[in-house]
């Protein structure tokens, strides 16, 4: 493929070396993203969504270590870059919005201070220009009375406002990629919609790519071009939003979609949960990590990791069942 990707992660493997042993957080994760695209990464807690995105910024927490694969971003080889070079990219070319806006801003500095800080770090604007830019940014993210807000402290703002400030900080240097790590999880439902809308609006205006990490399928459905479904440190299904919602092939994806509350369910109908608990990444099973919870589990699933089954250029899964069906279809065609 000769296409130029903004983000191109190939076969990333990352482990946390804890006193209890090696926790394999990411196993052969591959993701690519073009400029201006929105990729959703969904999965339950501990599936490796955040770890994937953080590793792209060199923000992997302490005992974590990249042990394989390549990470390319905008021509940089992230896995080979030192801390000093990474600093030039962070906040400038890749920005991130965190889950909890209540604790993500430093309580002892004004909003203005925290926004201008990143502007002055990455551009050669002076104090006055940075301040003017900060004001502009607050207007951009829809905060009223920006002059006044710049002088306020985080504790004087509401959660939704603080998340807007976080977005303003992230966008300060017009990054090429914005990572949104569950940006709406800690907010009220009404504010959630506003924040998502704002992000989409800004994406169109500034033309950046977004990686949206969430466990809320509703969020990805409305925003994303492509979706990666992660389970136990692997991408189990990858495809366009339509593929994932209308033509899911992996049993886990099907389970996720079945567990979404719908408007047209009957009154007494229950939501269908996925039974069981996520695997222990300290001792992952030999076969498919989802096999113990899978209702269509076969013998081979417990023994061997399934290979990739490609449905078209984009859509693929890692599942023995899909592999089997594909083979049968292939044989029939012959």
């Amino acid at each position: 493929m000769a296409e130029e990707y903004l983000v191109d992660i190939k076969n990333e493997r990352l482990s946390f070396f804890t006193p209890a042993g090696e926790v394999k957080a990411l196993n052969d994760v591959s993701i690519h993203l073009k400029e201006g695209e929105v990729l959703g990464i969904v999965g339950e807690s501990g599936s490796g969504k955040s770890v994937t995105a953080y590793s792209l910024m060199g923000l992997t927490a302490h005992p974590g270590k990249l042990i394989g694969g390549t990470l390319q971003f905008n021509g940089h080889e992230i896995e080979e870059m030192g801390e000093k070079e990474m600093r030039k990219i962070r906040g400038k070319e890749i920005s991130i919005i965190f889950q909890d806006p209540m604790t993500s801003l430093n309580p002892v500095y004004t909003i203005g201070n925290q926004i201008t800080e990143v502007i002055r770090l990455h551009t050669d604007k002076d104090k006055k220009q940075a301040y003017a830019r900060a004001k502009e940014l607050l207007e951009l993210v829809g905060i009223n009375e920006p002059e006044k807000r710049l002088k306020q402290y985080p504790h004087e703002l509401s959660g939704g406002m603080r998340q807007r400030v976080m977005i303003a900080i992230a966008l300060a240097c017009e990054p090429k990629l914005l990572i949104a790590d569950e940006p709406t999880t800690a907010l009220d439902v009404t504010i959630q919609a506003q924040i998502l809308e704002l992000m989409m609006e800004l994406k169109d205006k500034l033309g950046m790519a977004i990686i949206m990490i969430t466990h809320d399928l509703g969020v990805v459905a409305s925003m994303c071009d492509r979706i990666a479904v992660m389970y136990a440190g692997r991408i189990v299904e990858y495809g366009t939003t339509d593929d994932i919602f209308y033509r899911p092939h992996h049993m886990y994806t099907k389970g996720l979609i079945r567990s979404i509350p719908r408007l047209d369910t009957k009154e007494h109908e229950r939501l269908v949960p996925i039974e069981g608990t996520p695997v222990d990444l300290l001792n992952p099973p030999a076969g498919c990590p989802f096999a113990p919870r899978c209702e269509a589990c076969m013998k081979i699933c417990l023994r061997e990791m399934p290979p990739v089954t490609q449905f078209d250029d984009v859509h693929y899964t890692q599942c023995w069942l899909n592999q089997k069906e594909a083979m049968e279809k292939g044989e029939a065609n012959e």
């Binding site: 600093r87 906040g91 993500s104 801003l105 309580p107 002892v108």
Partner: protein, 305 residues
């Protein structure tokens, strides 16, 4: 803010009055008096002295006279040191104590914050363990033991440092070390745990994600948050330094207020006891108000009411 300060001053006056009253009556309950001595003084002479200083009057009347004097800024004359006023003695001796105390406070703040932060950053490493051992020792060993040990080694055995007086800067080293040891150890522990807490906060992750260097992350974003518990401790630390200086001054024969205070109690120099007590109480109260205001300046979330 202004309202707060006015309120604190009013409260301070009440506190000081309570301290003065308590000290006054406790002091008079202790047997003995200022004019007892080994040499027999004729009963007439004692009576004359007591009459001169008003000690022959009933206790209640003495109390009223004394408090009204204090209210007018008059602390009276020393009963034992002829011809010197209490205010004069405090004026002469306090600067000496303030110098030792002030240096110790600064030393313990700087060392404590620095070493505590290093311990937190090097968590689990050798340096962290070493700092932990030192801080445990500092908290466990009382200052008079430290004084004696320091004096024995540096003063007597190696003869590097002078053991008494305050004639040169070398004289300051041992008393300051003895006085600063405990607060330094305490601040180290406080700083270590609060720094560890702060380093794990989400806003530190934000700071890193902005691309800030390690130095800016630490000095701008972590330190100001982590130092808050230390600021809170400054009040009690001042009280410790004041009382600790009694012992240290005595051991190193430093002509400070602590020595005067102990001497006054031993000689039942009533006016001097009262004067120094009120003075030190005022000092601690004022410093606590200052600490509160500094706290507000560092952390905007604090509102002073």
């Amino acid at each position: 803010m202004l309202k707060y300060i006015v309120k604190r001053i009013a409260l301070a006056i009440v506190t000081i009055w309570a301290v003065a009253t308590l000290t006054f009556f406790l002091m008079n309950m202790v047997p003995g008096g200022p004019f007892l001595s080994e040499k027999a003084i004729s009963p007439q002479a004692t009576a004359a002295l007591e009459a001169k200083y008003g000690l022959d009057k009933p206790l209640g009347e003495q109390y009223v006279t004394y408090i009204s004097g204090v209210a007018h800024g008059d602390f009276g004359d020393s009963l034992k040191q002829r011809g010197r006023t209490v205010a004069g003695i405090i004026q002469a001796k306090f600067p000496v104590s303030a110098k030792i105390g002030g240096i110790s406070v600064l030393v313990s703040l700087i060392l404590g914050v620095l070493l505590g932060s290093i311990a937190a950053l090097k968590r689990g490493k050798f340096l962290d363990s070493l700092i932990s051992v030192i801080s445990t020792m500092g908290i466990a060993v009382p200052s008079f033991v430290i004084c004696t040990v320091l004096m024995y080694f540096f003063g007597v055995k190696f003869k590097i440092l002078p053991t008494m007086g305050l004639s040169s800067w070398q004289n300051y080293i041992m008393p300051v070390a003895a006085l600063a040891f405990y607060p330094t150890a305490y601040i180290m522990r406080l700083m270590r745990s609060s720094m560890l807490d702060v380093l794990g906060q989400d806003y530190m992750r934000t700071a890193k994600a902005k691309g800030l260097s390690g130095k800016v992350q630490l000095f701008k974003h972590a330190l100001r948050n982590a130092i808050l518990p230390v600021v809170t401790y400054v009040g009690p630390m001042l009280a410790y330094t004041v009382t600790g200086s009694f012992v240290v001054e005595k051991i190193f024969t430093i002509p400070g207020l602590g020595g005067e205070f102990i001497g006054a109690i031993q000689g039942r120099d009533y006016t001097l006891i009262m004067g120094t007590t009120i003075f030190l109480a005022t000092l601690i109260i004022v410093m606590n108000v200052v600490v509160d205001i500094v706290y507000k300046l560092i952390d905007p979330r604090i509102t002073l009411k």
